[in-house]
Amino acid sequence: MFENTILLLMVLYGVAGVIYFIRVLLGPTVLDSILAGDCVSLDVALIALLIAVYYENNLLAGGAFFLVLWAFVLDIFASKYLVKGEVGV
C-alpha cells in the first residue's frame, strides 16, 4: 500500500512535469519558459525525494536539497541578462 502510494505520487508529479515542460516549449515569452523551467527543476527534486523514500535510503535525500538550492542560479543569471543586457560577474 505504502509503495503503491509513492509510485502514484511519482506518476502524478511526472504528469505535472510534462505539463510544465509543455509550458516551457509554448511559452509566449522567454520569461514564462524560465519560470516553467524552474518549476521543472523543483519537480525533479520532489521526484528525487520520493525515490529516496521509496528505497528507504537517507543518503539519496541529500542531492535533492542541492538541486533545490542550485536551481535558482540560472534564474539569477538569466534575469541579470534580461534586465541589463549583460551578465557582470
Partner: protein
C-alpha cells in the same frame, strides 16, 4: 523493483532535449533546455543509486554550466544567425 523503466524514460527525455537544444534558434531557451537536460540525468542517476555523483553533478550541470553559458550569450547575439 529497480525502477529501470524510470531510468529509460529519463534517458529518452534526454534524447529529445538534446535534439531541442541543437535546433533551437533562441540561445537563452537553448541554455534553459540544457538545465532541464541536467535534471533528467539527475533522475536517471538517482534510480541507478549513485548519490555521491549527484552532489557534484547538480552544481556543475544545473548551476555553473548554464550560468557560464548565459554569460557567453550576453557577450554575443541572442538569436542564432545562420
Amino acid at each position: 523493483m529497480r525502477m529501470i523503466e524510470l531510468t529509460a524514460l529519463a534517458l529518452l527525455g534526454c534524447l529529445g532535449l538534446a535534439y531541442l537544444v541543437v535546433t533551437e534558434r533562441d540561445l537563452l531557451k537553448a541554455v534553459l533546455y540544457t538545465g532541464i537536460f541536467g535534471g533528467l540525468v539527475i533522475i536517471a542517476t538517482y534510480t541507478l543509486m549513485a548519490p555521491d555523483i549527484i552532489l557534484a553533478y547538480v552544481a556543475v550541470s544545473v548551476a555553473l554550466s548554464t550560468g557560464l553559458m548565459v554569460f557567453l550569450v550576453s557577450k554575443t547575439t541572442r538569436e542564432e544567425v545562420v
